[in-house]
Symmetry: C2
DNA sequence: GGCTCCAATCTTGTATGCAAGATCTGCATG
DNA sequence: CATGCAGATCTTGCATACAAGATTGGAGCC
């Protein structure tokens, strides 16, 4: 019924929406049943996800969503800072304004974020706040870096979920606006600084997380926080039918 | 006999060594026979390469090495400049010297490059000159960006091969040294500037290449330049047995 | 009760068979 | 000679069967 591309896309969307946690098992048979196709297609999707570092296979034991350790998380945040500030710096060097169409696209994305932050659809909120960075890279005219950034965003999401760093959605949104506003004035350098500031706050969290022992999957499963109860509920047997949708 | 990983690695090595040109057909059956395994394994390797943008499948027609157009090449060069100068800039911001082990690793790679540039093993020379950038990113302590950079290097190689931009190996080597030398003095900012200079010369070439019509695979095959004769010879029927090795 | 070992079960690893679409070749026809 | 058509061939798409390792559960023994 479904092809490999839709399977991997749905897995990625589910991660960005924080509906799938790191170390989640991705059984070939389960996914095949869920998507109504054979293991061949599922394996194709899983190999794709593995190539992007999102899934990992343990021989003859099973596929699992990657568990990102603090060292890798550090690399990821450095990489994101380099790429995202670098894109804005590159824009500044070119000394030419961003096309109106690009600005509009970002503005529309920010509107959607504002709406999601005000509402109570937490998965959508998580998704949009992460997707903003990909959208920005795309608007800046570099699809190659945008694609890399998407995978990095997925991996950082896997890290922050595990370490339960409190994600202040309202603040993230405001910082996104702080990146966008200078762009409307053509001040890409100011936007770069705002972006560096935005990402460095995340980097601080990683450094803090290094001090804590990483929360195990079992631990989070058995001691659900109040705001996670809804997420964990979907893992019970009765609701297990379509965990990805 | 061989697993998917070795197949994709060998394809990548062959591209970096300029032994495989863009648009080269990667038939599942051919590769399966070549590596002594079934199409299943070959497909796994091809899906991996496709996820990294290196191979493309045309439904029911076949797999081919990606043909990189000028727009994508521009994005690739911008991406590489952002990442590689960004890594050095990040090093400069941290205001701490590169570990001796890292410097040694780069130095040893440069020695190998010098040897290859002096010798006549053109595939090895091509490989090392491209691999330097990956080695540098690794030495700078970011394996995530190093992996992304490897794929980008592969794609830029596919572009330059097609457009036959004359590759001055000696000059590339000297520019690599010019990046390394400031690092030994702890002057990462000077290294960043040298790297920007090194990459911008390539960017100029892309802008020039935009004016030319891209040379088709058939065209290069039928009008071999003197210095490419050895490469094309390996594509004749009698020597076709192991084009990757 | 606790420990060991073996069988049952579950997982991925790999090959293969068949289906279906694309291309190519050769023939018939104008 | 050009053109269109049809069969032959070659290609990937996908499902399935079987192999083999990993885990688990329980029976039997100490």
């Amino acid at each position: 019924m479904a092809n490999a591309n839709t399977i991997s896309s749905q897995v990625i969307d589910a991660i960005l929406s924080q509906r799938l946690a790191p170390n989640t098992r991705l059984g070939e048979q389960d996914l095949a049943a869920l998507f109504g196709c054979s293991r061949t297609i599922v394996r194709e999707a899983l190999v794709d996800l593995a190539a992007r570092g999102i899934a990992t296979v343990s021989p003859r034991r099973g596929w699992y969503l990657t568990e990102v350790d603090t060292e890798k998380a550090r690399e990821l945040y450095v990489a994101r800072e380099i790429i995202e500030t670098g894109l804005l710096r590159h824009l500044a060097r070119r000394k030419q304004a961003l096309p109106t169409a690009a600005l509009d696209q970002i503005a529309r994305h920010l509107d959607a974020q504002a709406e999601a932050v005000a509402g109570d659809d937490i998965p959508r909120r998580s998704y949009l706040l992460g997707d903003f960075h990909v959208c920005l890279a795309n608007s800046l005219g570099n699809s190659v870096l945008a694609a890399n950034l998407r995978d990095m965003t997925v991996l950082t999401t896997l890290f922050t979920m595990r370490h339960q760093t409190p994600h202040d959605a309202q603040r993230s949104y405001e910082e996104h606006v702080a990146v966008f506003e200078p762009l409307t004035r053509g001040d890409a350098l100011a936007a770069e600084e705002a972006m560096r500031c935005h990402l460095s706050t995340w980097e601080e969290k990683v450094n803090k997380a290094r001090d804590y022992a990483p929360v195990s999957a079992l631990h989070t499963a058995l001691t659900p926080a109040a705001d996670l109860r809804g997420v964990n509920a979907s893992l019970t047997d009765t609701a297990k039918k379509e965990p990805l949708l």
